[in-house]
Amino acid sequence: MPEEIPLTFEELQEKAGKLEVVETLEIEKSMIRNFAAAIGDTNQLYNDEEYAKGKGYSSIIAPPGFFTAAVMSSAFTRLRPQMPLGRGVDAGGEWDIFLPVAAGDTLTNTFKFVDVTQEQGSKGMKTFVKFETTHVNQRGELVAKSRSQLMRF
Protein backbone atom coordinates (compact mmCIF):
# COMPACT_ATOMS: atom_id res chain seq x y z
CA MET A 1 0.00 0.00 0.00
CA PRO A 2 1.50 3.38 -0.89
CA GLU A 3 2.14 5.65 2.05
CA GLU A 4 -0.65 8.18 2.43
CA ILE A 5 0.20 11.75 1.52
CA PRO A 6 -1.11 14.09 4.21
CA LEU A 7 -3.44 16.86 3.07
CA THR A 8 -2.03 20.39 3.14
CA PHE A 9 -3.55 23.05 5.39
CA GLU A 10 -5.22 24.60 2.33
CA GLU A 11 -6.66 21.24 1.27
CA LEU A 12 -8.00 20.73 4.79
CA GLN A 13 -9.59 24.20 4.74
CA GLU A 14 -11.30 23.25 1.51
CA LYS A 15 -12.79 20.10 3.11
CA ALA A 16 -13.73 21.65 6.49
CA GLY A 17 -17.47 21.51 7.09
CA LYS A 18 -18.01 19.21 4.10
CA LEU A 19 -16.88 15.78 5.34
CA GLU A 20 -19.19 13.62 7.37
CA VAL A 21 -19.73 9.93 8.10
CA VAL A 22 -22.98 8.50 9.52
CA GLU A 23 -22.95 5.08 11.21
CA THR A 24 -25.59 2.99 12.93
CA LEU A 25 -24.48 1.27 16.13
CA GLU A 26 -26.48 -1.37 18.00
CA ILE A 27 -25.59 -1.32 21.68
CA GLU A 28 -25.18 -4.89 22.93
CA LYS A 29 -24.87 -6.10 26.50
CA SER A 30 -21.47 -7.67 25.75
CA MET A 31 -20.19 -4.31 24.47
CA ILE A 32 -21.17 -2.57 27.71
CA ARG A 33 -19.83 -5.37 29.94
CA ASN A 34 -16.50 -5.52 28.07
CA PHE A 35 -16.12 -1.77 28.23
CA ALA A 36 -16.82 -1.79 31.97
CA ALA A 37 -14.32 -4.67 32.42
CA ALA A 38 -11.58 -2.77 30.57
CA ILE A 39 -11.89 0.13 33.03
CA GLY A 40 -12.27 -2.20 36.03
CA ASP A 41 -15.81 -0.96 36.70
CA THR A 42 -17.99 -3.50 38.54
CA ASN A 43 -20.90 -1.06 39.04
CA GLN A 44 -24.18 -3.03 38.81
CA LEU A 45 -25.67 -0.38 36.49
CA TYR A 46 -23.36 -1.69 33.75
CA ASN A 47 -23.35 -5.37 34.72
CA ASP A 48 -26.60 -6.43 36.38
CA GLU A 49 -29.77 -6.20 34.31
CA GLU A 50 -32.19 -6.61 37.24
CA TYR A 51 -30.43 -3.89 39.23
CA ALA A 52 -30.49 -1.50 36.25
CA LYS A 53 -34.20 -2.18 35.71
CA GLY A 54 -34.77 -1.43 39.40
CA LYS A 55 -33.19 1.98 38.74
CA GLY A 56 -35.71 2.61 35.95
CA TYR A 57 -33.62 1.67 32.91
CA SER A 58 -34.69 -0.79 30.20
CA SER A 59 -31.47 -2.83 30.59
CA ILE A 60 -27.85 -2.33 31.68
CA ILE A 61 -26.61 1.12 30.65
CA ALA A 62 -23.30 2.29 29.23
CA PRO A 63 -20.86 3.99 31.63
CA PRO A 64 -20.45 7.75 30.97
CA GLY A 65 -16.92 7.11 29.71
CA PHE A 66 -18.34 5.00 26.89
CA PHE A 67 -19.27 8.22 25.09
CA THR A 68 -15.56 9.02 24.74
CA ALA A 69 -14.77 5.66 23.07
CA ALA A 70 -13.62 5.79 19.45
CA VAL A 71 -16.64 3.79 18.32
CA MET A 72 -18.81 6.63 19.65
CA SER A 73 -16.90 9.83 19.21
CA SER A 74 -13.58 9.52 17.48
CA ALA A 75 -14.56 11.33 14.32
CA PHE A 76 -10.91 11.13 13.35
CA THR A 77 -10.97 7.31 13.24
CA ARG A 78 -14.16 7.31 11.21
CA LEU A 79 -13.17 10.06 8.75
CA ARG A 80 -9.54 9.08 8.36
CA PRO A 81 -9.93 7.23 5.02
CA GLN A 82 -11.27 10.44 3.50
CA MET A 83 -8.72 12.83 4.99
CA PRO A 84 -5.10 11.65 5.33
CA LEU A 85 -3.58 13.69 8.16
CA GLY A 86 -0.14 12.21 8.77
CA ARG A 87 1.27 12.38 12.30
CA GLY A 88 -0.95 13.76 15.00
CA VAL A 89 -1.99 13.41 18.61
CA ASP A 90 -5.30 13.65 20.40
CA ALA A 91 -5.56 17.20 21.70
CA GLY A 92 -8.56 16.86 23.96
CA GLY A 93 -12.29 16.71 23.78
CA GLU A 94 -15.55 17.47 25.49
CA TRP A 95 -18.69 15.41 25.75
CA ASP A 96 -22.21 16.51 26.62
CA ILE A 97 -24.34 13.63 27.85
CA PHE A 98 -28.08 14.23 27.77
CA LEU A 99 -29.65 10.78 28.17
CA PRO A 100 -28.54 7.29 29.17
CA VAL A 101 -27.81 4.64 26.56
CA ALA A 102 -29.05 1.14 27.41
CA ALA A 103 -28.33 -2.27 25.87
CA GLY A 104 -30.82 -2.77 23.04
CA ASP A 105 -30.67 0.86 21.90
CA THR A 106 -29.68 1.65 18.33
CA LEU A 107 -27.73 4.84 17.89
CA THR A 108 -27.18 6.90 14.78
CA ASN A 109 -23.76 8.47 15.16
CA THR A 110 -22.69 11.34 12.93
CA PHE A 111 -19.00 12.21 12.64
CA LYS A 112 -18.05 15.58 11.11
CA PHE A 113 -14.83 17.40 10.28
CA VAL A 114 -15.80 20.98 11.12
CA ASP A 115 -12.75 23.25 11.16
CA VAL A 116 -8.98 23.55 10.88
CA THR A 117 -6.77 26.23 12.43
CA GLN A 118 -3.04 26.90 12.62
CA GLU A 119 -0.84 28.49 15.22
CA GLN A 120 2.87 29.07 15.61
CA GLY A 121 4.35 26.75 18.26
CA SER A 122 7.86 26.78 19.72
CA LYS A 123 8.85 23.88 17.43
CA GLY A 124 7.07 25.00 14.27
CA MET A 125 3.57 25.40 12.96
CA LYS A 126 0.85 23.42 14.73
CA THR A 127 -2.36 22.50 12.97
CA PHE A 128 -5.54 21.80 14.95
CA VAL A 129 -8.15 19.68 13.21
CA LYS A 130 -11.57 19.92 14.83
CA PHE A 131 -14.36 17.35 14.85
CA GLU A 132 -17.92 17.13 16.12
CA THR A 133 -20.17 14.14 16.68
CA THR A 134 -23.83 13.66 17.53
CA HIS A 135 -25.55 10.51 18.84
CA VAL A 136 -29.28 10.00 18.35
CA ASN A 137 -31.21 6.97 19.65
CA GLN A 138 -33.97 4.95 17.98
CA ARG A 139 -36.59 7.33 19.42
CA GLY A 140 -34.96 10.29 17.66
CA GLU A 141 -33.60 11.70 20.95
CA LEU A 142 -30.18 13.35 21.04
CA VAL A 143 -28.35 11.36 23.73
CA ALA A 144 -24.91 12.94 23.48
CA LYS A 145 -22.64 15.13 21.40
CA SER A 146 -18.91 15.73 21.36
CA ARG A 147 -16.27 18.15 20.17
CA SER A 148 -12.66 17.07 19.93
CA GLN A 149 -9.44 18.03 18.23
CA LEU A 150 -6.32 16.48 16.89
CA MET A 151 -3.01 18.32 16.78
CA ARG A 152 -0.83 17.74 13.74
CA PHE A 153 2.83 18.68 13.92
Partner: protein, 144 residues
Protein backbone atom coordinates in the same frame (compact mmCIF):
# COMPACT_ATOMS: atom_id res chain seq x y z
CA UNK B 1 -19.18 -0.37 43.23
CA UNK B 2 -21.15 2.46 44.79
CA UNK B 3 -23.82 1.53 47.31
CA UNK B 4 -23.73 4.97 48.86
CA UNK B 5 -25.26 8.18 47.57
CA UNK B 6 -23.95 11.74 47.72
CA UNK B 7 -26.71 14.37 47.83
CA UNK B 8 -26.45 17.94 46.56
CA UNK B 9 -26.77 19.26 50.12
CA UNK B 10 -23.73 17.20 51.23
CA UNK B 11 -21.32 18.81 48.78
CA UNK B 12 -19.25 21.97 49.25
CA UNK B 13 -16.95 23.77 46.88
CA UNK B 14 -13.40 22.62 47.62
CA UNK B 15 -14.45 19.08 48.59
CA UNK B 16 -12.18 16.37 47.27
CA UNK B 17 -13.60 13.20 45.76
CA UNK B 18 -12.47 9.74 46.82
CA UNK B 19 -9.34 8.94 44.79
CA UNK B 20 -9.64 6.05 42.34
CA UNK B 21 -6.58 3.84 42.02
CA UNK B 22 -6.55 1.56 38.99
CA UNK B 23 -3.76 -0.67 37.78
CA UNK B 24 -4.27 -0.99 34.03
CA UNK B 25 -3.04 -4.25 32.48
CA UNK B 26 -2.11 -4.98 28.87
CA UNK B 27 -5.13 -7.27 28.77
CA UNK B 28 -7.33 -4.27 29.73
CA UNK B 29 -5.84 -2.35 26.78
CA UNK B 30 -6.68 -5.17 24.36
CA UNK B 31 -10.27 -5.47 25.64
CA UNK B 32 -10.61 -1.69 25.47
CA UNK B 33 -9.13 -1.52 21.94
CA UNK B 34 -11.66 -4.00 20.58
CA UNK B 35 -14.71 -2.72 22.49
CA UNK B 36 -14.00 0.94 21.88
CA UNK B 37 -12.94 0.28 18.28
CA UNK B 38 -9.61 2.01 18.88
CA UNK B 39 -7.20 -0.35 17.11
CA UNK B 40 -4.15 1.88 16.78
CA UNK B 41 -1.14 -0.47 17.24
CA UNK B 42 0.57 1.98 19.62
CA UNK B 43 -1.68 0.52 22.34
CA UNK B 44 -0.90 -3.21 21.94
CA UNK B 45 2.20 -3.66 19.75
CA UNK B 46 5.46 -2.88 21.54
CA UNK B 47 7.44 -2.58 18.29
CA UNK B 48 5.16 0.24 17.16
CA UNK B 49 5.50 1.92 20.55
CA UNK B 50 9.31 1.70 20.73
CA UNK B 51 9.59 2.95 17.12
CA UNK B 52 7.79 6.07 18.34
CA UNK B 53 10.16 6.50 21.28
CA UNK B 54 8.03 4.98 24.05
CA UNK B 55 9.42 2.34 26.44
CA UNK B 56 6.24 0.23 26.05
CA UNK B 57 2.71 0.41 24.64
CA UNK B 58 0.77 3.33 26.07
CA UNK B 59 -2.68 3.52 27.63
CA UNK B 60 -5.41 4.92 25.34
CA UNK B 61 -6.14 8.54 26.20
CA UNK B 62 -9.83 7.80 25.89
CA UNK B 63 -9.53 4.91 28.37
CA UNK B 64 -8.10 7.41 30.86
CA UNK B 65 -11.01 9.78 30.17
CA UNK B 66 -13.36 6.88 31.02
CA UNK B 67 -11.47 6.41 34.31
CA UNK B 68 -11.90 10.12 35.13
CA UNK B 69 -15.65 9.65 34.62
CA UNK B 70 -15.61 6.45 36.68
CA UNK B 71 -13.96 8.23 39.63
CA UNK B 72 -16.79 10.80 39.66
CA UNK B 73 -19.47 8.09 39.33
CA UNK B 74 -17.93 5.98 42.12
CA UNK B 75 -17.77 9.03 44.39
CA UNK B 76 -21.30 10.30 43.87
CA UNK B 77 -23.35 7.07 43.67
CA UNK B 78 -25.79 5.71 41.11
CA UNK B 79 -28.50 8.37 41.40
CA UNK B 80 -26.07 11.07 40.24
CA UNK B 81 -25.53 11.61 36.52
CA UNK B 82 -22.55 12.99 34.64
CA UNK B 83 -23.86 15.52 32.12
CA UNK B 84 -20.57 16.86 30.79
CA UNK B 85 -17.00 15.62 30.63
CA UNK B 86 -13.86 17.16 29.20
CA UNK B 87 -10.46 15.50 28.95
CA UNK B 88 -7.03 16.47 27.71
CA UNK B 89 -4.01 14.16 27.71
CA UNK B 90 -0.64 15.71 28.36
CA UNK B 91 1.47 12.65 29.01
CA UNK B 92 1.75 8.92 28.35
CA UNK B 93 0.78 6.25 30.89
CA UNK B 94 1.93 2.65 30.74
CA UNK B 95 0.28 -0.71 31.49
CA UNK B 96 1.33 -2.23 34.82
CA UNK B 97 1.42 1.21 36.44
CA UNK B 98 -1.15 2.37 38.94
CA UNK B 99 -3.14 5.30 37.56
CA UNK B 100 -4.71 7.49 40.24
CA UNK B 101 -7.67 9.76 39.57
CA UNK B 102 -8.28 12.66 41.93
CA UNK B 103 -10.82 15.44 41.82
CA UNK B 104 -12.20 18.50 43.54
CA UNK B 105 -15.57 20.26 43.50
CA UNK B 106 -15.11 23.73 42.01
CA UNK B 107 -18.70 25.00 41.79
CA UNK B 108 -22.24 24.24 42.94
CA UNK B 109 -25.32 25.64 41.23
CA UNK B 110 -29.07 25.06 41.09
CA UNK B 111 -30.28 25.41 37.53
CA UNK B 112 -33.23 24.41 35.38
CA UNK B 113 -31.08 21.46 34.20
CA UNK B 114 -30.72 20.22 37.77
CA UNK B 115 -28.65 20.54 40.91
CA UNK B 116 -25.21 20.65 39.41
CA UNK B 117 -21.70 20.29 40.74
CA UNK B 118 -18.65 21.07 38.64
CA UNK B 119 -15.38 19.29 39.30
CA UNK B 120 -11.78 19.39 38.22
CA UNK B 121 -10.56 15.83 37.72
CA UNK B 122 -7.10 14.64 36.83
CA UNK B 123 -5.02 11.48 36.51
CA UNK B 124 -1.58 10.94 38.04
CA UNK B 125 1.13 8.40 37.25
CA UNK B 126 2.98 6.47 40.04
CA UNK B 127 5.46 9.37 40.39
CA UNK B 128 2.57 11.74 41.15
CA UNK B 129 2.90 13.57 37.83
CA UNK B 130 -0.38 14.74 36.35
CA UNK B 131 -0.73 13.22 32.87
CA UNK B 132 -4.43 13.71 32.26
CA UNK B 133 -6.59 16.77 32.88
CA UNK B 134 -10.35 17.03 32.81
CA UNK B 135 -13.52 18.53 34.16
CA UNK B 136 -16.93 17.06 34.85
CA UNK B 137 -20.41 18.35 35.55
CA UNK B 138 -22.72 16.08 37.51
CA UNK B 139 -26.40 16.39 38.44
CA UNK B 140 -27.00 15.22 42.01
CA UNK B 141 -30.24 14.25 43.76
CA UNK B 142 -31.50 16.30 46.72
CA UNK B 143 -32.68 15.03 50.09
CA UNK B 144 -35.95 16.98 49.83
Amino acid sequence: MPHHQVFFEDVNEGDEITPLKQKISKKDLVIYAVTASDLYELHYDKDTATAQGFKDVIVHGRLKSALLARAVSDWMGNDGKITKLTCNNRGADFPGDEFTVKGMVTRKSQESRGNLVELDVWGENPEGKKTTFGTAVAALPTKG
